[in-house]
Amino acid sequence: MEKWITAILLKFPGTNCDEETERALQSVGFKTEIWPFTLVEPTRIKNVDLIVLAGGFSYGDYIMAGKLAQLNIQQKLQNSLNEFCHQGGFLLGICNGFQILMRLGLLPQGSLISNTTHRFMCQWVELNNKAQQSPFLKGLPSSFELPIAHAEGRLVTQAPKQAETYLKEGNVTLTYTQNINGSAYSIAGMQDASGQVFGLMPHPERFLYKEHHYDPDWAGDSEWGWGYYFFKGIYDHIEAM
């Protein structure tokens, strides 16, 4: 019997990038389902390969972005996300999902706070690939573009030097080539020590096709955008496992 590789998208009230993220996951081969958070049970996530926290404004993000989602996940799923990772599962957080993963403590300590511009910023950015061995990034070049859209994407750590350690120890996966939001060491994406938990502020699902690029003459690929290779990387990795 054919074995499907499955990805689940958790949907909180206010999650709003779930459909395009699902489309991106499907385009690389994942079998997917979107689960409203009310339907999520600790036992249900066991047989899943990848859990995705998509972008949006969970519960409105009126108090620190991702805070209420974090509390609700902790109450409902307790340790089952950690167990899921221990058993080899992958956990991806994009934008608001990244904020939630940070708050859950599943990524190295830090917080994503208001951009130094104090604005919502919807634009394309160039990123440095700092973790080419990561399953998410191994199909991507040393620098590439993705769009961002956030008001709270500035990574800060308790001790100012902490972020430098993250860079040295390989926790930093992506940095902005130009520090647009004031993030420590221009950090745009992080992973945990195992590489199974991955969070980033940019939106790979918004650069799935070549036509998503703002420049009609973008010459990086003839059909797909960089986001496709981001999702394809993790799919191929799980398939080869």
Partner: protein
Amino acid sequence: MAQAVLHKPSIEVSIRDKSDAELSALSSVMKLSLSVEDMKAIQIQYKNWDRDPILVELEVIAQTWSEHCKHRIFNAVIHHTSDGKQTMIDSLFNTYIKQVTQGIQAQKPGFILSAFHDNAGFIRLDDQTAVCLKAETHNHPSAIEPYAGANTGLGGVIRDILGAGKGAKPIGSLDVLCFGKPNTSPSLIKTRHVIHPLGIMRGVVRGVRDYGNRMGIPTVTGAIHFEDGYLYNPLVFCGTAGMIPTEDIDKKVVHGLKVILLGGATGRDGLHGATFSSTSLDTESHEEDQGAVQIGNPIEEKKACDCILKAREEGLIDFITDCGAGGLSSATGEMLSKTGGTLYLEEVPLKEPGLSSWEIFLSESQERMVLGIQPQHTKRLFELAGIYETQCAEIGEADNSGHLKVYHDGKKVCDLDCSFLHTSPQKTFRSHHQTKIASDIQLKPTADWGNTLKRLLKEFNVCSREPIIREYDHEVQGNTIIKPLAGALGDNPQDGSVLRVDQTEKYISLGVSLLPQYNPDPYRMGLSSVDETIRQLVVTGADPDRIALLDNFCVGNPDDPNELGKLVECIKGIADAARAYQAPFISGKDSFYNYFETDEGPESIPLTILISGIGIVENASHITGASIRQPNSKICFVGISYPETGGNACAQLTDQHGGPVPNLNPEEAIKIYRTFYKAIAQGMIRSAHDLSEGGLAVALAEMGFSLKAGLEIDLAKIPTRTTLGTGNALFSESNNRILFEVSSDYVQKITTLFQGLPFSIIGETYTNHRDLCIHENKTIIIQEKLSTLKESWKNGLLPYY
């Protein structure tokens, strides 16, 4: 009337023996905004029924008959005098708007799938899918409380889409804003409590941002117009496009359907919004009418949206509409207008206890939708509401009584004959218009033409909107292909925005036009607005024969015959242009009483019309941006330039007022657009830009901001039929002109294609410099670095937002 009386649910208000003066006083004390004629019509009806109205009934009639809900001016009899000639117009709407659409319906069968009767009009995208568009204004609330006003303005129009058909999916929004100039000296504001344009602009933009971004609907297109005329009464237009399976467009209420209220709870916010927006503003509005402004909660609406779309997919919905102006009374009143039905107000979930019957029934609390559901589907709908964490309540059912019956805690608080409720008396107005003949003027430069261009690029109505555009998430849903800022460097202005439509091979293009500077000639303003919208869609790759339009009017005081006269002429203009282009109106809205009673007299807005357009882009290869892509391309120009300087941006900058407003030759224009579309379909067009504010010089500069090449053109080569002069050649804003980039390989082919039309190759793109170089024969008129021009253009708004 004492406050205590208002809270007795079933109290009767005696009107049968009241004099005209007493009726008028009653209308004003109860804030009904009903005229003496309306009050008398109500009086006669109740005399026939041999009883007095219950309080709630009067409130329901007032909301239903309000200008906001029934568009009574658009349906009025107007005795119009135009240049001394008298005509009688029986309904502007029927005569000009509806008739145009009906004519086109006959000529393009299957294109318009629904127009005017639903919350939004639908057109055909492909065999299975339809798309829709709707725009609304939220002017008065935004004047008093800019953030909340704009927030709920967008929230409201999104609900229109959710309430269109059996629940369309919102896929893109637009916002068009009219403000006073951001650098207005505070000493110019003649009255207390008026918020400075800077405060209005910042509040409104953030209001749009926080609703649109949280809903996950990309804000993809729009416009901002700055003019002193909007100092006291800003305008905020919000629009949303949606998609739906074609089979889910038709909906019907039948006997036995359960009436379900879904979404947020009901509170005291937004009482009398419909009647409030149907009168003028004054100083007291800022103090007294705060309760008429609603409070937005986008996450509440997002939850409702997720639930509704799922319920529609599962086939649970028979009927749906939104709770907007007039709240439940309007929503259920419209829903049950054909059948009748019974409602139980105690079933309505409340934000706080102690609301009286009329407060529950009229509250304009946001994020509420009314559904008609077959009894066997209610269980599953309630389950879905639980899954998506929204609230659902069964509040009544449809019957076939023809009466709207409302009970509250066992007492009957309303029992109205639907046919009476929905037939408001026809109003009568007088209007007057005199065409002013303007003679041509020759534009002269400031220091030199290069300097004029640099200054013009910095002007509020020309400069980049980037600081504001970046605050809006214009890429959520992952379908925005032509973004509001694009081109090789990602920051060039574009004309329309192009969106992929999920599960189809096709795309839609969205564009807008608003030209209040053309007020001196309202008929031509109408023509020009339609033309600019079509042009914006056509340059992005839309098929000129598959475009639908919306008309949104904002008017000052309709009781002033001159202001109403301008409106009549403008409507004639949009109707003539739309008919010639075979582009139907599928929906529209009008907003009157946009004036402010200052201490020194009334300040009206200029007559303002927003034409929004939705066009079908047949396939990906047709999508065209507005930025130069390569060196060694030919720069082509199609359309005739005239010395039409009325309302012209350069003329205003250089204080050279006067001259005729741009006219339109729609027969020639549509030929140009169809030919241009052939060129697009044959893959000949690299980029294309519409000529609008700032004319040829600004359009060239904007295309060049990709900095992919230098641009050189010869002014002497542009098609013209009169003596134009250098200034007018550079800055004329004549209609139906397009500038486009074509590979030099296609010179022969493109010239042949445009044979017989005013077409010319006016220049080339160069690899050896990045200048904008404009000659006239051998004389250099403008030579400027594109990067310098771009800096001027990018920094115009930056200090203010």
